[in-house]
Symmetry: C2
Subunit: 114 residues, 2 copies
Amino acid sequence: MEGCIFCGIINKNIPARIVHEDDEVLAFEDINAKAPVHILIIPKEHIGSLNDLPKDREPLLGQILARARAIAAERGIAKSGYRIVLNTGPDSGQEVFHIHVHLFGGRRMTWPPG
Amino acid sequence: MEGCIFCGIINKNIPARIVHEDDEVLAFEDINAKAPVHILIIPKEHIGSLNDLPKDREPLLGQILARARAIAAERGIAKSGYRIVLNTGPDSGQEVFHIHVHLFGGRRMTWPPG
């Protein structure tokens, strides 16, 4: 979608440190990392937020979380642990309205999560 | 699984404020709530963590997140916003080793998420 920074990354118009790419999903380093491992996992399809996800696309969520798990394993944090966060709407602090999952690891995460 | 507090809730041996139940998924209020809305969504099948989820059960993750979205709508926080958190392993602070997704809403969540 025009004006969407994540669509720009998908289209390679905006540079990013991409860590995974397949037909449906892209993963890249968060430029404002909040942990030693902080990666964003997004669908290539432009979907604004979890609220906007069509019901028949729900399996995409499974794919995205499975990819987060795979990346955690690749980065060597599967056993030490990792936190996955999905923000939706203003109270969550969602800033880019292209659905994205955050993967955090490499440090002890505190509670509550924000 | 014996000794698992969440299996105890599923089996109704341990009381909980249940907000949703179907054949595969249970949702209930977190007894140590960290936000006006703080609900846990779990599969009825005992799976220790995301690391332990069999590959052919990945669609279950989509089901769980879809349920979180539905509960957010029921609680009237779909538009104000909500945060979904999935902890895996020690660094994440995962305490109960039965996979569970946290749904937070009803207040502004801060960043980073822990």
